[in-house]
């Protein structure tokens, strides 16, 4: 509390403070906080909403079901695999692109606009464009053929379908994080680099010893956002597999499974809510682990 303010002034400011916060508090209350409490309620019940709502208390049943639900295990495995591969790759790619762009190159603006195209495009559109390119007789197989590389049935083959989505997503998401890196790069004082240059540092050395350490807080942010985003993979899997998570469950993600249990099968909404909570816990743990490793106190 600041000194020197009268009680009246403080009260008035508090009133104004709440007024400023009102829209946020009301909306967060109704559409975030209340739903979280509601979701807790749902996750302990068997819920059948068709033909009049039925709620039946089931205790921890929904959470225990996860242990023998093979599809949940497959979905988790796919999702974790996806996260572990996509997050590091997209982060590195974003960093390299941002650093390259920031090196005072000509045409920076042009590259920036081009790179940002995928971020601007809806994932529904991107998924369709890639499905068209991934087609058995499509562009990608055609190019692979020219280069005498093996071709794949990208969408139909369970071994490569998830990889196809990974490639697409790294391509689509890296530029978004590149922009965030770019913004942060402009905050690194030029004097750091000049000092290093006087010491005769090469470009690579400058990158490793000045750029990377200075960007650590942003990297932490990018990795956390990347974790949250990748754990929630849905649109691409949904469109790729027409909602099924096929072929052979290879594109089934946790969120797609939640969707299926909530809106596709009948009477498993409570179980879907339980799965959503477990996902939230996994994301939380991953984020905490990331923080522990990077030892950063910067953001969250």
């Amino acid at each position: 509390m600041k000194r020197g303010k009268s009680f009246i002034k403080r009260t008035r400011e508090a009133g104004q403070g709440y007024l400023f916060m009102t829209p946020v508090l009301v909306i967060l209350g109704i559409f975030v906080i209340a739903p979280i409490l509601y979701a807790i309620f749902l996750s302990f019940h068997k819920v059948q909403l068709l033909g009049g709502s039925h709620y039946e208390f089931r205790g921890l049943d929904n959470f225990l079901k996860v242990t023998f639900d093979d599809r949940a295990h497959i979905a988790l495995k796919n999702t974790v695999l996806y996260v572990v591969i996509v997050v590091p790759l997209q982060t590195m790619l974003a960093l390299v692109l941002a650093a390259s762009l920031n090196a005072g190159m000509k045409g920076q603006k042009f590259f920036r606009i081009v790179y940002f195209l995928p971020t601007l495009t809806s994932s529904a559109v991107l998924t369709l464009i890639f499905m068209w390119m991934y087609n058995q007789n499509g562009l990608i197989n055609h190019l692979l053929n020219i280069l005498h590389l093996p071709t794949y049935n990208w969408i139909g083959d369970p071994d490569v379908a998830l990889i196809a989505i990974m490639i697409m997503n790294i391509w689509a998401t890296a530029p978004f994080f590149m922009v965030i890196y770019l913004a942060a790069l402009q905050d690194i004082p030029g004097s750091h680099y000049e000092a290093a240059e006087l010491d005769g540092a090469s470009g690579m050395q400058k990158f490793w010893h000045i750029t990377v350490p200075n960007l650590r807080p942003v990297t932490s942010f990018v990795v956390i956002m990347g974790l949250i985003g990748t754990f929630q993979l849905f649109d691409q899997s949904y469109i790729f597999s027409a909602g099924s998570g096929g072929p052979n469950n290879s594109t089934l993600t946790v969120v797609l499974l939640i969707y299926q249990y909530a809106f596709k099968s009948l009477g498993t909404m409570g179980y879907a809510a339980a799965l959503a909570f477990l996902l939230a816990i996994i994301i939380l743990i991953a984020t905490l682990l990331q923080r522990k490793f990077s030892k950063e106190e910067s953001l969250y």
Partner: protein
């Protein structure tokens, strides 16, 4: 501590606020002020000509029922998801299409209105093909009337047959295999285009006395089922004379056939208008599916009209269903050949059994397996197809794959309990 308190306080406040808002939200008008009732009908699209035909039938209905307006609402993608979501949300149509295969699950929830009490004598229930009607029965009650059906038949490319020196379509699976070998040209043209999916192969699965589902549980890993698929798999893996559409970059069996990448496919009545529209130049014929061990078999798919149990206009809704599945409405709907009639009297009148292309489809109805087997079939189908594909691709032996799939399906059934 403080944090916890404020969270719960915020939660309570939000709940209060949301219940307040609910109280204020305007109640929907249920009865229109005029004496005209508007009911909605949901269905999937089909091709533009087919849709126009439906709209024609609906406008005939409106003419003969001047106090009822029908609004047709088309759902193009993920039909069942949308229908279920709307039923939960209370925004579903009064009358909608329902695939027989999804019927038992939905009927169990109580979301579908039983129709027995509306039916009068003139409607003549006995006129329906029993098999198709039974697909919409549960505990002795009728929940829907089949609007049309189709079986599967063998479509064969006449030009390719001629080139390969084959004079007539195969009658047995052994003949089919031999012909497919002659018709295949590397990986450009396959003898047979296949869909490695249970909905296309159910009749085959049970051809050796096995049972895919027993008492709402998957039992398809038994030897008698596994054995029955052997010739089917060998055509792809050993003979390399069969392929699925995605292997040649096609989106469907019909497309694969039309593009000339398969000389034969097993498709239904829908493929006839599709070929006419998209590949009018391809000269083809149809035949009954080849026999397995001397026994005839095929699948039959049927779709019915059902009524939303929460419909506000049940009388008008019944009028619509009665008209659409009645003799007059069904005759008009099936007259253009997009679908086959489920009423014997209409079938006899339209004479599709004598039609050159549709004859084999109609003949199949007598011995076809109807694609409906209780509320758990969607789950079982999903698991079966997933694993069956890996066996089809040769990644693992079929008995192993199906054993896994059976286990998984039964676990999933347990999850829904």
């Amino acid at each position: 501590m403080k944090l916890k308190k404020s969270i719960s306080a915020a939660g309570v406040a939000a709940l209060l606020a949301s219940s307040l808002l609910t109280g204020c939200s305007p109640k929907e008008e249920t009865e229109s002020k005029h004496d005209k009732t508007t009911i909605t009908l949901s269905g999937w699209g089909g091709n533009p000509i087919e849709k126009k035909l439906l709209l024609d039938v609906l406008s005939d209905f409106e003419k003969s029922h001047p106090n009822i307006d029908v609004k047709f609402n088309q759902i193009n993608d993920q039909y069942m998801d949308v229908i279920k979501t709307r039923l939960i949300g209370g925004t579903a149509a009064d009358v909608f299409y329902l695939d027989a295969f999804e019927a038992p699950g939905l009927i169990q929830t109580g979301a579908i209105e039983p129709l027995d009490k509306y039916v009068d004598k003139d409607f003549d229930i006995g006129d329906f093909e029993k098999q198709q009607l039974d697909a919409f029965k549960e505990n002795g009650k009728i929940y829907g009337f089949p609007k049309d059906y189709s079986t599967l038949a063998l479509f064969y490319n006449k030009k390719k047959f001629k080139e390969a020196g084959i004079s007539e379509p195969p009658r047995t699976w052994e003949e089919l295999r031999a012909d497919a070998k002659k018709l295949t040209k590397g990986n450009k043209v396959y003898g047979l285009g296949v869909m490695p999916q249970i909905e296309r192969l159910y009749y085959m699965a049970e051809s050796q006395g096995g049972q895919v589902i027993t008492k709402d549980h998957a039992t398809f890993a038994q030897n008698r089922v596994v054995r029955s698929f052997q010739p089917f798999l060998e055509m792809h893996l050993k003979d390399k004379t069969a392929a699925q559409p995605s292997e040649v970059g096609s989106g469907s069996g019909g497309e694969m056939f039309g593009q000339g990448r398969a000389a034969m496919v097993m498709e239904g009545n829908w493929n006839i208008p599709f070929m006419k529209d998209t590949f009018p130049k391809v000269d083809y014929g149809t035949a009954e599916l080849p026999t397995i061990n001397g026994k005839k078999g095929t699948m039959s798919f049927t779709v019915g009209y059902v009524m939303n149990a929460e419909s506000k206009h049940k009388k008008a809704s019944w009028e619509l269903i009665q008209y659409l599945t009645g003799k007059e409405g069904m005759k008009k709907w099936t007259s253009k050949g997009f679908a086959l009639p489920t009423r014997k009297s209409v079938a006899a009148e339209l004479g599709y059994d004598k039609d050159q292309l549709r004859g084999p489809l109609v003949k199949g109805a007598k011995y076809a397996t109807v694609w409906q087997d209780g509320p758990m079939l969607p789950i079982i189908m999903n698991n079966f197809n997933n694993q069956f594909l890996s066996a089809y691709l040769g990644e693992r032996p079929l008995n192993e794959a199906l054993k896994d799939a059976e286990k998984q399906a039964n676990k999933e059934i347990k999850v829904t309990e």
